[in-house]
């Protein structure tokens, strides 16, 4: 024992130590008591709150997409379906070297070099476990090519998905429309909650207009997820509380269109290599039998996704394949409005069926030297109203136009539905233009331009000047002629079908106010003149009407794109193709109980009777050869 130790008071030291141990123990018990109190608070008093939070932590509601409704033609042939297709997906977290993987995929031709930056961006923004779609639909060949190289691409895989497919896409592209990837703008327009699981939405045509019906209702499924939101298979772990109820999606309704796929094919083929449009309507109910705009495009490209360069190519194509001429294109109707003006003239007494005029090939207003020329330079000689229609004499109409007047012209053309939206069940229809004095007052800024000039009435009488109509409006007007003034709202959707029960809801045709010309005699005479267009030796479209097995009425029209000077002659071959006249033709058949009314417009087609009329004839032949196929 050292010296210092001897000073130590071992007894008091030990006594103090015990005191300190007791003090420490008391403090320790108080502190652990606090922890225990805290545990009681968390596990007993607040247990319910935390139990709920724990459940909310891991149960996530996942949206399940509904199956999109199918689209059929009037005979039940499929126009839009959902096909299982393999899409190429990449899961960022499973890829070791993203840059390299994308470059390799581009090298074997599965993705495009130009898309790589976009995928790089996508992989950075989303959760790392969420797959990025590189390609929506792979061809058989591409699937095979990827399959053999798959081991080289960890984190890249093929996933089966339902992809919208249009088997005869190019034939119905402008009527059926297409679906495309859901955009932010779409989500603003649509009910966001309903589209929680949907990747595509209708962008144009029937797909767009009937989006709500085709889409169906989203379903819900409760899934167990971990902290990162990754789904965990529920069966691998037995959780003490059962998952809440799930709710299955409700599939979208199927849609039957009034379109006839055969007519679409014939109409599309007839317009092959041309720009133009054909619309065919059933005059008895307003059902659209054909709606074609040429050139067309493949809507499948939109459903499966295309690269920006492919889209730009389509967008910038000179023929404007994406432009729906049938409902958006506006054209001067030319002589096709003559039957309607004839009816208006008879109704208001501006002419009668016996009045005759001499056509010398031109017409001038009294006191003016300006010559309004007839399309036939030598003139038609002495003609009555019937001849003026069947031979398409312009001078006769120039003469009676002064008595009809622009106000009546505007009124009756409007009754036939020209220059106003038809109300078709499709978005984006153009108005066209049916000019009037009032319209001109509002349309021009200069006071001098706001006045309606008598000469403008004259050219309006042969469908030139300001008058602009869409092919759909024109077809609808022909249907009205065919139905002797009865009018229906044109429509594409004939019926909806519940995909589960198979129950169909037929769309009831909507009747519009009839044209206010109720003298049957007028109608029959004008229609007889239209019949002579096709049948009489002097009819303008006699070659197109030859040897028809049914009675057919028609009227050609040739609309000027380019005005020629007073003394010049229109020489088709000398004019640039784009400046040639538009060729128009309207017709319906049979004469009694007509079943089809057609309007054909061929841009820069030069001659309605030579170019457009045979197209109308082919369509009539096709439609009327079969048995009656009312929907």
């Amino acid at each position: 024992m050292s010296l210092i130790a001897s000073i130590k008071d071992h007894h008091s030291e030990r006594h103090m130590f015990v005191g300190r141990i007791i003090l420490s123990s008391v403090i320790a018990i108080i502190l652990l008591g606090t922890v225990i109190a805290r545990l009681v608070q968390l596990q007993i008093y607040d247990h319910a709150i935390f139990a709920e939070k724990s459940l909310g932590n891991r149960i996530r509601t996942e949206a399940v997409p509904p199956t999109r409704g199918l689209i059929f033609d009037r005979r039940g042939r499929i126009l839009a379906e959902n096909l299982p297709a393999y899409q190429l997906e990449l899961i960022p977290e499973q890829v070791t070297d993203l840059e390299d993987t994308l470059a390799q995929l581009a090298r074997i031709g599965l993705i495009k070099e130009e898309d790589i930056p976009r995928f790089n961006g996508l992989s950075r923004t989303g959760p790392r476990f969420k797959p990025i779609t590189l390609r929506f639909r792979l061809t058989e060949d591409e699937i095979a090519r990827f399959a053999v190289q798959r081991p080289r691409f960890p984190g890249v895989d093929l996933q089966p998905r339902l992809v919208r497919h249009y088997p005869d896409g190019e034939l119905v592209a402008h009527a059926v429309g297409y679906v495309g990837a859901l955009s932010t703008a779409d989500l603003g327009r649509l009910n966001g909650a309903d589209y929680a699981a949907t990747s595509h939405t209708g962008k144009t045509g029937v797909e767009n207009f009937n989006e709500e019906t085709l889409h169906g209702d989203v379903g819900f499924q409760q899934v167990v997820t971990n902290a990162l939101g990754r789904q965990v298979p529920a069966e691998t772990r037995d959780f003490s509380d059962a998952l809440p109820e799930s709710e299955g999606p409700v599939p979208g309704s199927n849609i039957y269109l009034s379109l006839d796929l055969d007519l679409q094919r014939i109409a599309t083929n007839a317009l092959e290599g041309r720009r133009g449009s054909i619309v065919a309507i059933d005059p008895a109910n307003g059902e659209i039998l054909a709606l074609v705009s040429a050139p067309t495009f493949d809507p499948n490209a939109f459903a499966t996704g295309m690269s920006p360069s492919e889209y730009n190519a389509l967008q910038n194509d000179e023929g404007r394949p994406l432009f729906n001429r049938a409902v958006r294109g506006t054209y001067p109707p030319g002589s096709t409005i003559k039957p309607m003006l004839a009816l208006a003239a008879l109704q208001i007494g501006a002419t009668n069926l016996t009045r005759r005029s001499v056509c010398r090939g031109w017409y001038s207003l009294p006191g003016s030297s300006h010559r309004y020329r007839d399309w036939r330079p030598e003139g038609h000689g002495e003609v009555d109203l019937h001849d003026a229609i069947s031979q398409s004499c312009d001078v006769y109409f120039y003469e009676i136009s002064r008595d009809i007047g622009i106000d009546n012209m505007n009124m009756y053309l409007d009754e036939f539905g020209l220059g106003r939206k038809s109300g078709l069940d499709m978005a984006g229809e153009s108005d066209g233009l049916n000019p009037s004095r009032e319209w001109k007052r509002n349309a021009f800024r200069e006071r001098a331009d706001q006045v309606w000039f008598p000469g403008e009435t004259i050219i309006a009488s042969i469908g030139q000047g300001y008058l602009l109509v869409t092919p759909l409006q024109l077809a609808n007007a022909v249907a009205t002629l065919a139905a002797r003034g009865e009018r229906f709202k044109p429509h594409l959707v004939a019926a909806f079908e519940d995909p589960i029960s198979g129950q169909r809801t037929i769309v009831v045709p909507e009747r519009l106010p009839r044209v206010s010309i109720d003298n049957d005699f007028y109608w029959e005479n004008v229609i007889a003149a239209m019949h002579d267009v096709m049948q009489s030796p002097t009819g303008t479209a006699r070659s197109a009407g030859a040897k028809a097995s049914y009675q057919m009425a028609g009227k050609s029209g040739t609309a000027q794109v380019f005005s020629i000077a007073q003394e010049e002659k229109y020489e088709e071959e000398e004019i640039d193709e784009r400046l040639r006249d538009h060729a128009l033709f309207i017709s319906f058949a049979p004469l009694e109980n007509p079943r089809i009314a057609v309007a054909v417009i061929i841009e820069n087609g030069s001659s309605g009777s030579r170019i457009a009329a045979p197209v109308a004839r082919t369509i009539m032949d096709q439609y009327l050869k079969g048995s009656v196929d009312a929907f």
């Binding site: 050292s2 210092i4 130790a5 000073i7 130590k8 008071d9 030291e13 030990r14 103090m16 130590f17 015990v18 300190r20 141990i21 007791i22 420490s24 123990s25 320790a28 018990i29 502190l31 652990l32 606090t34 922890v35 225990i36 805290r38 545990l39 009681v40 968390l42 596990q43 007993i44 607040d46 247990h47 709150i49 935390f50 139990a51 939070k53 724990s54 459940l55 932590n57 891991r58 167990v224 997820t225 971990n226 902290a227 990162l228 965990v232 772990r237 037995d238 959780f239 003490s240």
Partner: protein, 379 residues
């Protein structure tokens, strides 16, 4: 009242165990302490099995670590306290050198320089958990108690130097434990209550200075404690999720391996610092209370051993080791339940990890050695 008269609970002298008792005595082991440690370790392995998502590899690794730690305890238990005392200054100096070495040559793991690789990989800071209280006890062993001011100053340096070195790694949890172990020696040595209060007041500006030295993440932890919901997905996430885990466990828990917070990765550090939350979720209040009860038993037995100790060195060391063990338990359970800031203190004998377990068991080995060489009391 005489503490030596405390109930038979901590004495462990009952006849039916005499056979086992003889074996234990020959191995210089203390039965009740060994039993308590054994039960905690066993419960720990059960909870860990669930916390590592039934990953057998990790679980077996922990079993191996536990075995190594028990071996370390057996070896240390054979060293008489006098021998330990004589080695203390050298051990302390060696520890300091290693700490210095770590700052320059250590391996970096999880953003801190804590590991040293000299044949075997270990954290020198762990040595200090024992070396600092041993050094403090050694210094006070032959001096008059309560310690004089000058002596306190010397011990202050003995505590501060390693604490600062460890804090520089940075390893806030271990440095706090090392400082605590040292300070506990002074407190047990009879530091006057007045001085303690004064030091407590002085710690307010001291705390301010410490704040200036803290790493950003450490500051964040303190701030987060004050309002965990301020940043639910950031710094407060751990605490929120651990409270949800414990609270959702309720009285009986969701059942072993049936918890959802841990396997679904909501709970971070579920197999290490936050394993108490896994236990709370799966075994409920009854489970965690059992564990706390076992801890209390071990702490009580340690304190009983310290009272029976033969000399000042043994007494102070045993007391410090027992109370440091308590501090570990308290800090971990209090941080997991959101009572104190998140500092990296594992739950002793339960959390996954090796080094701290070896230190802990070596500490228990010292307790057992001290008990074997205790002052014989009149019965």
């Amino acid at each position: 009242m005489r503490f030596s008269d405390t109930p038979q609970l901590f004495s462990g002298r009952s006849e039916p165990y005499s056979n086992v008792g003889n074996t234990l005595q020959r191995l210089h082991l203390d039965g009740p302490l060994l039993g308590g440690i054994g039960l905690i370790s066993a419960l720990g392995l059960v909870v860990l099995y669930s916390a590592v998502a039934q990953n057998m590899d990790l679980w077996i690794q922990q079993c191996i670590r536990l075995f190594i730690a028990v071996v370390a305890m057996l070896i240390v238990a054979q060293l008489p306290p006098d021998l330990l005392r004589r080695w203390t200054p050298w051990g302390f100096l060696a520890g300091l050198c290693l700490l210095g070495l770590v700052l320059f040559k250590g391996d970096i793991g999880q953003g801190a320089r804590r590991w040293l690789d000299i044949g075997i990989r270990f954290q020198p800071s762990e040595i200090m958990k024992l070396a600092v209280p041993m050094m403090a006890a050694w210094y006070l062993h032959e001096r008059q108690l309560p310690p004089k001011f000058l002596n306190l100053l010397v011990i202050g340096i003995v505590i501060t130097v390693p604490t600062v070195l460890i804090a520089m790694q940075p390893d806030l949890g271990t440095s706090i434990l090392v400082a605590t172990a040292g300070v506990l020696v002074i407190v047990l040595a009879g530091l006057s209550i007045r001085v303690m209060i004064l030091l407590g007041l002085a710690s307010i500006p001291g705390g301010y200075v410490l704040w200036q030295f803290m790493q950003d993440y450490q500051k964040q932890r303190v701030l987060t404690l004050l309002n965990p919901d301020s940043d639910p997905l950031g710094a407060g996430y751990n605490i929120i999720q651990s409270k949800i885990a414990i609270g959702s466990g309720g009285l009986f828990g969701k059942g072993w391996t049936n918890g959802s917070q841990a396997p679904l990765e909501f709970l971070p550090e579920r197999d290490t610092d936050f394993i108490f939350a896994v236990m709370g979720e799966e075994l409920g209040l009854l489970g965690v209370l059992s564990l706390i009860g076992l801890y209390l038993f071990v702490i009580g037995r340690g304190l009983y051993i310290s009272i029976q100790a033969r000399d000042t060195y043994s007494r102070l060391l045993a007391g410090s080791i027992s109370l440091t063990f308590f501090v570990c338990v308290f800090v971990n359970t209090a941080m997991v339940t959101g009572l104190v800031p998140v500092v990296g203190v594992p739950l002793p004998l339960v959390s996954y990890g090796g080094t701290s377990m070896v230190t802990l068991m070596a500490g228990f080995g010292i307790l057992m050695s001290i008990h074997r060489h205790r002052k014989l009391l009149p019965h």
